[in-house]
Each structure stands twice: as C-alpha cells, then as structure tokens.
Symmetry: D3
C-alpha cells in the first residue's frame, strides 16, 4: 500500500487492486446513502466493478490526467477522494470525493481535501481548485464553504443521477499570491 500521510489518523492511499474489496463492502452496506448524490452506486454490483474503476483510475494517474486515492482512517479504507481532472493547460484540478456514512462528522473529507489542495498548489504548481456539487447536496456545499471556496455559479442540467438531472453549484478556490 502506497501512502501519503495527512495526519496521525488520516491518510491518502493511491488506489490499488486490493481496494476493490473494501470499496465494495462499503457500497454494499450504504448503497442508498451513496446513491443520493452519486451516479455509479446502483451499477456497482461486485468487486469487479471497482477493479475496473481502479485500473482505469491508475491509467489516468499514469497519464498525469487524474489521481484517485482511498481515504484511510486509522488504516481502514473509508472513502475516496480524487483529482478527477488535472489540467496543466488551465492550471487547475477538479476534486471529487465520497465518504462512508459511518465516518461522517470527523473532518476526514475536509482534511483530505485540504491535503489535496496543498498538493495541487505546492507540488503540482497549479493555481485553482474546482469542486462541482449538486445544488441539493448541502453537506458538500458546506464543506466547500468552510474551506473557503467561492461559489462561481449554478450550472443547470449538469449531471444525470440515474434519471434525475441535477444542477451543479461550481465552487472555486484560487491560490493566494
């Protein structure tokens, strides 16, 4: 397992084949919860679904286009956080994440997003972080706001969640000069 430590309890681990088992066990348990704001949970019907996701994520990492990590809490896989897009051309990344219901409220996602922000600004030398949140997803909008992101706009008809077309609140954080 290849790790980037966030703090004593929390770490980011680059996805690896063996995580398919952990991801599937979360989704099996919390499918309805995760499906509220994610499109893929209804389709995640076995470990093979995540094996394919992990393989394709690592290929994106191989090409420098994305970086997909498990969030670890005390060594356990509890969610996923990613640079869904790494754009050298636009000097920005787009971040996405999901976290097991059972590990909400501990600041895990916030700490991971903060670490990724630091990587984007200081290691990758980029200047903007973007997060798109479905307008109705209040907890994620609050997280963006707490971390100092600005609301740049609300783009209508931006994502299809298994038949429900939702609007996206676009949040941005620009590197301080």
């Amino acid at each position: 397992m290849f790790i980037s430590q966030v703090d004593e309890d929390v770490a980011l681990a680059l996805v690896q084949p063996s995580f398919a088992k952990s991801y599937f066990s979360i989704v099996k348990r919390e499918r309805d919860y995760l499906a509220e704001w994610l499109a893929w949970p209804p389709h995640a019907d076995g470990e093979a679904f995540f094996s394919a996701f992990i393989e394709s994520s690592l290929k994106g990492y191989a090409e420098g286009k994305s970086m997909t990590c498990a969030m670890l809490y005390k060594g356990e896989v509890v969610g996923n956080v990613s640079f869904n897009v790494i754009s050298q051309s636009l000097k920005k990344v787009v971040i996405g994440y999901w976290l097991s219901k059972d590990f909400q409220g501990k600041g895990i996602a916030s700490r991971c997003v903060t670490t990724l922000t630091d990587i984007a600004f200081n290691q990758l030398k980029l200047t903007k972080i973007e997060i798109a949140v479905a307008t109705g997803n209040t907890p994620s909008r609050r997280l963006c706001e707490r971390l100092g992101f600005s609301l740049e706009g609300v783009i209508t008809q931006a994502e299809n969640l298994n038949g429900r077309i939702v609007d996206h609140a676009i949040y941005g954080l620009t590197k301080p000069r």
Copy 2:
C-alpha cells in the same frame, strides 16, 4: 451541399470537405481578429487543417454527439456554428460559433443560433441550450443576452487561448414549458 434554410439570405450547411477552402480563406484574411477569442486560428496553417476538422466534425455528427455547420450568407460560407455537444443524457446542447468580421452586424449569427435553438428544442426534444463565452468577449455576451439567455455563472480558468487563460461566462436558455 446539404442545406437547412434559415431565411431568404441565411442558411446552415452541414460541413463538407469542399468547405476547407472557404474556411481557410477567411482565416488567412482575418487570423488576428479570430484569434482574439478562439484558440485554433494560430494553428490553422492550410486547408488540410480544416479538412481534418471537417472529417472529425462529421464523425461527431455520425455518432450523434455534435453537429457542425457552415453559416451561409447569400450562398457564401461566412462562418461556423455548431452544437459542440449534444447530450441526450443531460437533455442539452452546447453551442459555439464564429463569424467573419466582414459579415458582422447583419444578424447572421443571431439568426443561426435561433434556428439551432429551435432544432434543439423541437426536433431533438432537448430542454437546455448552453453557451460559454470568454468574459471579455462583449459582442458574444450581448448576443446571448439579446436572445434571452441567463448568465448562470463565471467559471474561472476555463479556457487556454494560446497561453492566455480566460474565464468563461456560462449562459443558459431553458425551453419554455
């Protein structure tokens, strides 16, 4: 030439190989003008550039993902207007266009965008039109506003114009019920 008539003077023609010559002749003449808000004019170094563009545009049309048309004024190619994206899943299209400097001020682009809006709403049965305009591109922003589009937001670091990274004003028009 396959045509969709807009009005007596103006028509949309699905791109075809022979248009490469017309496109290149406009760009050769107006490269600096077009490069102000488009990324490709500095790279358009011959008819072959447009032949490749046309081939790839027709493949997008073949797959139902996009539709790229020349704007004709009195039978002459004077610009380009496209569904850059046709998304059945999001029930929306994204429109883009450019028009020769010599043919500005005649309402050609407005009339073509209006026709595409009609095609999107009434033939393709979609419900939203989206146009992204660099924030500094006042004439295009005015066109969106005149046609009744709403400003949904300003997304920072949204396009790289040969080294200059610009923000996008996102305009949307929703089908009236």
Copy 3:
C-alpha cells in the same frame, strides 16, 4: 435535416440519425420486395440496424469515400441513393439505390441518379459513373439504359444475396467532353 433539392417534389437528404425510424418502417412493410435484389433486408431487424448503417455511412462521408442520401418525395423518406464509392484516384463514383415499392413509377430514382451524376461530373470533377445491377433485375437495368449508361460487361459470381450468388451487369456513363 440537410437537403439538396432535386426538383419541386424530390430532394436528397444526407442521412441523419432520425432516418433510422423511416427506413425501418419501409423495410418492415416491404421486406420481401426489397430482399429480391438486396442482401441486407433479412438482417434489418430493428431501427438499431439502420442507426448503425447511418453512423457508418456518415463516417464514409466524413472520409470523402462515400455519400449516402435518403430520397425524399414531398418531404417523406421513400428510399436511399448513394455514392457507394467515391474514387478520386479512378475519377469515378459507383452509385447504388433502392426505392419503396409504393413510390415506383414516378421517376424518383431516375431524377435522383441524374442529380448525383451532375454532382459527380460538375462538383466532384470526376469522369465516370458506374452502376452494378444483378443481371435479373430488369427494372434497374432499364433505368441505366434510359439514362444513357453503356453495358460494359457481365461479371459472373459477383454478389451473394443470402445464399443466391448472382452475376452483375456493369453499366458505365462517361462524362461527355
């Protein structure tokens, strides 16, 4: 719909995804009639068959290798007429077509072939039209003869119509100098 008008009643429309429905409705009604001289009708088991055909036809058009049109009569799709091959190297096209039984006898196919001949000679600057007709297909042979094509030969074992191997009468029309 992108149109090239032939005369008041007849037009050529470049194939587009929405035609799959029209094609299938003709074939469902006239499968046996069309299967007499065409290989594909027994395999055309739904609109998806024509969607795939249209996508592949538009890719051929994108590459400048073919051009596939619906024949429209008073705005209705009544058949198909194509440059199956556009050969710049041999300065010729090969034409093929089929027409709904219900619209025979109105000169629709003749008028469309004449328009395509004009496009080949005058727009594409080619010098020969070739049409291959199964030897037993008397109506199509008559059409070629009426339009002034010469019989260049009878090539044996030239096409397999679902198990029946037929000979081809090859007709040619050379551009008058």
Copy 4:
C-alpha cells in the same frame, strides 16, 4: 522454404521474409519493364518495401483472404503469383501475377496459374477464377485466352498506374461440372 511443386522445374513457394531480397533484386534490374502494367514498382525502393508486402501478404493468408506465392524456376525466385482475393462467399478467387522479363517464354506463368486453378477448384472447392488485365497488356490477355478464360467485359477507369488510368479486361473461368 515451404514449397508446392508444380512440375520438375517450376514450384510455388509461399512468400517468406527472406524473399524480400530476391524480389528487390528483380525489381531493381527490371523496374521499367514491370512498371508498364503494375502500379507498385516505382515505389519499391528497397528490401523493406517487400518485407512489408510479405508481412501483409502472410497476414492475408493467415485470415484465409489471399495466398501469395513466389514462382520458383529451378529453385530461383523469378516472379510472384497470387490469389489476390479468396472469396468463400462468392465461391471465387482473383488471380494476379508478374514474372521477370528474363524468364518469359518458358510457360512458367501459365503453369503456375494452372496449378492455382487446380487448387481453387479442387482443394478450396470454389467454382470461378477471375483475372483482371489492363486492356493494353496483350501478353497477359493472351495467357488468359490460351488457358480457356472467357472475356466477361471491359470495365473502364479500373486501375490507376501512377497517374495513367487504364481499363480492365475481366476474364473468367468457371469450374466445369
């Protein structure tokens, strides 16, 4: 070297990488002679040209679509003879060949075509042999006629020989019942 013996002096050898050298040495010596009725000699600028030809020919053989042989005379490579097309669907093959000028007049090509005819009819169980000859290529037309092929037609604008567009005489031989 894998061989199919024709008679004491003549054999067919399936093409193999080491033949590139022999083919190129013939073409270097007789380029003008061969270019009279073949399109490729002006482009055969080294052994690599034939290595690519041989690789692609063996792939055609691997797929059962063609079979390309060197003609051997007393163990020496003196030309090429092929099923350019093997069509199970039409129950026919198309034969093509070329022979070094220095080995003309010995009946080598005739004997090889006769052997291929036998293979097509008796091993592959096909029923027609087709040979296309440029109308001006009198020696090849005589060979077809001597071997009992019928002239099925003259197809105009059938081949481009480096800018010269020639007509094809199509010869056919049907398996006797």
Copy 5:
C-alpha cells in the same frame, strides 16, 4: 499445402486453415494423453479453436517472430512442431512440439527437431536452440538429451497446466563453431 521435406516419410508443412480439421481430430481422440503436458487440450472444443490458433500462428510467421508447422508422416498430419520464438536479438529460437500418441516411437519428432535445428543454424543464422520441458515429461527430456542438448537449469513454477504448476527443465543446444 506448402511443404519442407525432412526425409522420404516425414515433412514439415507450414500451418494452413485446412489443418484445423486434422488437429481437432487428433485432439478429440487423444485429449487426455495430450493434456498431460500441454495446457490447451481441455480448451480445444472444436475446429474453430484450431482455426484461431492457425491464424494467430501465421501472423507470428508474417512478423518473423515464430514458425508453426504440422508434422506430416506419409502425407498425414500427426502433430505440431514450432519455433515458438524466433529472436534475432538473442540469436536463438525456442522449439516446442507435440505428436499423436499413435505415431510415437518412429523418430518423427526427433527428425523434425533436427530439421528445425538445421534451419535455425544455417538458414536463419542463429546460434542457440532452447527447449523447455516440464520436469516430469521424461520422453521429451530423453529426446533433448539424445539430440545432444545440455540441461541448463530447472526453473521452478514455470508453467500452469490447468491448475497444476510445474517446473521447467531448460535444455540448450549451441551451434558448433
């Protein structure tokens, strides 16, 4: 059939599509016998299995990477012998083979391997022959030893025979200077 004669009774024939039938008829009869030291027999469920094998073998031959032959005894296909690898870079080939149980004890495999050794050393100008034999396959190990190959080592966990992982005895024969 393209042949390389070994002696009066034995010949090598480059694989060709029609051999699929012969291969399958041996395997159907002797599946258990062949499965003792080969991985594929349990999967060879029809002629199509061998058609695919032959196509892929001929593509390897087309690329100069391998050469796969049927062993013929008095004109009948009785087994297979191959350069599984032809490495110009390492100046060596790797040989593999199998022979019908009914034709064991006649020296057929030995004679074919000797012929391939001669082709590798004298036609391909390579300097080493390598054969990997499962350690328990006594008859094949004896053949290598009789032909003067040296045992270079025993590599553990070298091949998976449908679930049984076996070690390989690696035999080598170097070209005498």
Copy 6:
C-alpha cells in the same frame, strides 16, 4: 508522493511523473556504470525517456502485471526496484533493480528486495520470487545469495545488452511453508 516505508532511512515510492527528473539526473551522472548490466541507459537521452517509462510502468501496475518503485534513501530517489512480472497464474514475481553507485554498500537494495519479498509472500499471497542476473554481475549475484535465493540454472543467450549477448543466472526463493 505515495510511500511504503521500509525502515527509518529507506522507503519504496510508487513511481510518479515527477521522478523522471530524479532518474535522469542519476543516469546522466552514472551512465557508464549503469550500462554495464542494463540495456536502457544508452537510450535514456532525457527526462522524456523516463516519463514514458513511468507512464508505462503505472499502466502495468494498473493492470496488476507489475509494480515499479523508486528506492528512497532519506527521502531522496537513489534507484529503482520492481516486480517486473506479477504472475497470479504461476504464483510468482520476478524482481529487478538498479541502484546509484553513490549509494552502494548501505544495504539499500537488500532491504528493498526483502520488503518486496514480504509483499509478494504475505500481501499478494504468491509463493516464489525469481531474479535473473547476468552471470558476470557479481554484486547482484552475491545479493541474491546473501538473501537465501538458490541458483536454479544458467540460461545461455538470455539478454542483449546493446549488442553484447549475456547469459542469465536464474535465482529463486520459495516461500517457506
């Protein structure tokens, strides 16, 4: 940077794009030293060489076929160690490595190979480690011997080091039951 700690001073870091710079700076300095037993140093002509290597290594990792790590000493990239092959089917891995001359003699490679051995046996649940060493590479052979690997054989003509064909000593370590 994603890390797997070996001990206080030494760590394995999964390769990532930013390592291209570090790898190239070692190779530029020590090209002759590394070229003694590796084929690639003469071809490593810039950072792009290693960017391509890293991308392809991460794709191998994505597919579960290999795992390529930098060796870090006190946080600095000092060499590379990999599962060149991960074979679930044979339940083994093949390890390869190289280390900067300046960091020899500190046990870094030994400690990393020991960690990979542990990963292979205990995380991946495989049962054999294999290392191939050119026979003349005494330091690497000693490392294998010190770590308890057995010599399984010497395979002749096993690797081409820019024209010099060398033999491989194959070392194996089997998981104790």
